[in-house]
């Protein structure tokens, strides 16, 4: 038994085509209710999406030195992301290959070996089996025992600018192909740092909601809802502005029309890999010469031209298929726990090389909007429960995702560029979903 066993397919559900749940044509884009609530759909998603797509598992700054690890999940499968003794990042299934006990019971730590609490088998941090207890005693193992090499290594692991991705599909294509245009968002976010790096320092926020994971994936790049769900926040913004810690992140606008102009600006993309991306570059470079970050942008302007500076200094957000979000100064992941239960974790990051004051300021800004007591995120997750409640009304079969469909433009690489007020981002997710959920050819 080698580190990576050949996939026998015995775990697979019978082939079933779910792609009809996305009813898409030139003018039509509708999603069937079952795509959000079906137990069978959910199980198929775990196998056909989460186990065959590059998923985000951890960030390198969480395991900076050899023998440090964090636990994570690929879909619903528990993994350990560990930097081994040689410094190589491995992603291992958190399961003793003897009789299945979980090895790591802490979410984070440093160890020279993983020792199974059940019968004491031990593994080094590369996953190699280094000890079988009482191996040769009578009633132990024979000389020719077919001992496993070690823990199951997720066959594909790759890192993009510190983001560790893994893929359970040994035949998966390169990570960079999967990221595609989503790299632009990661680059813009990280290039805010003078050295182009981020670090996860704060404890994350974590919330669970009663709803499907795709609600979160759709919502993080949904400009449309902001003006409605978050209008109470805009009211706070109008009254309190910068004084309570916004740190220049949100611009209010007194009327709905004014707020609409701020919000509906820039480009959005629905990518062929399932990502939704929103770019809102700063429209007036003069604005970068004011505010908390003025000096910082002055320094960055030695490195980037004005157009790029406006892109870095503006706003952007991404839903990177299937489980990674980027917005504000945070990495967000979502973990499906069932068709109607999802865990969202928000990791505020520090920009390496930035003044402590600015990093602390961004932390206060995120405190105000995110987390279970913030003025934004709890409303989103409450809406997700409301969606779950509403979708019980299954007499209504289809949800409508046609906003702005006529303004989508297909780009040379198969992504669709849309207007910011449209649902182009969400359509990207569902196009990919439909192709992944077609069913596995046998």
């Amino acid at each position: 038994m080698t580190f990576v066993e050949t996939h026998t397919g015995r775990n697979d559900l019978p082939t079933r085509d779910f792609s009809w749940m996305v009813d898409a044509s030139a003018k039509r884009f509708r999603i069937h209710t079952q795509a959000y609530v079906g137990e069978d759909v959910y199980k198929a998603e775990l196998e056909r999406i989460f186990e065959r797509t590059w998923t985000y598992v951890a960030h390198e700054s969480e395991i900076p030195t050899p023998n440090e690890y964090v636990t994570s999940y690929i879909g619903d499968q528990p993994v350990i992301a560990v930097r081994d003794r040689e410094g190589v990042v491995r992603v291992l299934i958190n399961r003793c290959v003897h009789r299945g006990a979980a090895l790591c019971r802490e979410a984070k730590g440093k160890t020279r070996a993983f020792i199974c609490p059940y019968h004491g088998w031990s593994y080094d941090t590369s996953g190699k089996l280094v000890g079988i207890t009482d191996r040769n005693i009578a009633g132990g193992y024979d000389e020719d025992f077919d001992a496993p090499e070690g823990l199951y290594r997720v066959p594909k692991v790759d890192i993009y600018r510190g983001f560790i991705f893994a893929n359970l599909d040994p035949d998966a294509g390169p990570l960079l192909d999967h990221l595609g245009r989503a790299r632009d968002i990661i680059d813009l976010k990280l290039n805010m740092s003078p050295v182009g790096e981020i670090r996860l320092v704060s404890k994350p926020y974590s919330v669970r909601y009663k709803g499907n994971w795709k609600f979160q994936a759709e919502n993080i790049v949904d400009q449309y809802h902001f003006l409605f769900v978050h209008s109470p926040f805009s009211k706070l913004q109008t009254k309190y502005g910068e004084s309570t810690g916004d740190f220049g992140v949100h611009k209010a606008g007194k009327s709905h029309a004014e707020r609409r102009n701020t919000r509906y600006h820039g480009d959005t993309y629905g990518c062929s890999q399932g990502h939704g991306l929103a770019f809102q570059p700063e429209s007036d470079p003069e604005n970068l010469k004011q505010g908390h970050f003025a000096e910082h942008f002055a320094r960055l302007s030695e490195k980037y031209d004005e157009e790029m500076l406006c892109r870095i200094g503006g706003k952007c957000a991404a839903a990177i298929f299937p489980n990674l979000g980027m917005i504000h100064h945070q990495i967000r992941t979502w973990r499906p726990l069932g068709p109607d239960l999802t865990e969202v974790t928000v990791y505020p990051y520090e920009l390496v090389g930035l003044d402590d004051e600015l990093n602390a300021g961004m932390l206060r800004s995120q405190e105000r909007f995110y987390g279970p007591s913030g003025y934004g995120m709890p409303d989103d997750v409450d809406i997700f429960s409301q969606n779950t409640e509403g979708l019980r009304g299954r007499a209504v079969e289809w949800l409508i995702l046609e906003r702005g469909i006529g303004s989508d433009v297909e780009t040379e690489n198969g992504d669709f560029r849309g207007l910011p007020a449209s649902e182009a981002c969400q359509r990207g997710l569902w196009r990919k979903w439909a192709s992944a959920m077609k069913g596995i050819e046998q």
């Binding site: 404890k203 769900v229 309570t244 007591s373 409450d382 409301q386």
Partner: protein, 171 residues
């Protein structure tokens, strides 16, 4: 004046004050509750109270102005997470005065078990679920006339570094 009181008298006075504070919360008398706080107050729900705020986010980290904003948000805006509103009930035990309390302030520790319930149509997803929130709290009380004001309130939820659901009401 506190200096002249016995420890059991101070404990009794502080307990009575905590009960009064909790009653205002449970009766949704939000402005009266807010009036218990000093002008330099801190209302804090940490994720990790051992880490400095410069490097670790909190669930809530309100100075006096931010708390004012929170009250405004609750009373003057309509937002999804409190539509319909939560109902709470506080149960307070294990009250004791921190021996390190100085002259200026009385530091009171308590355990508070808060039950929370979203009102509205209880048959719907996300509403009508009775939720226990076990906490340990620290109040820093300063004398105001013959009662107290709250200079700081720290609320350590037992699972503060684990997934939470809606905490958009006052704890």
């Amino acid at each position: 004046m506190m200096a002249t009181m016995s420890l059991s008298d101070v404990t009794a006075a502080a307990s009575a004050f905590l009960f009064q504070e909790a009653k205002l919360l449970d009766d949704a008398r939000i402005r009266d509750w807010h009036a218990l706080y000093t002008d330099d107050c801190h209302y804090w729900v940490p994720i990790d109270e051992t880490r400095p705020a410069t490097e670790c986010a909190a669930i809530i980290n309100d100075n006096a102005l931010a708390l004012e904003e929170r009250i405004y948000h609750l009373l003057e805006t309509t937002f999804a997470a409190q539509t319909p509103k939560s109902r709470t009930l506080h149960f307070i035990t294990n009250v004791f005065i921190d021996p390190a309390s100085g002259d200026g302030a009385t530091v009171v520790h308590s355990n508070q078990l808060i039950f929370e319930l979203r009102t509205g149509d209880y048959r719907q997803v996300g509403l009508g679920e009775l939720r226990p929130i076990p906490t340990s709290m620290t109040h820093e009380l300063v004398r105001a006339g013959d009662s107290f004001k709250i200079r700081s309130k720290t609320i350590r939820i037992i699972d503060r570094d684990m997934p939470q659901s809606n905490l958009t009401f006052l704890l």
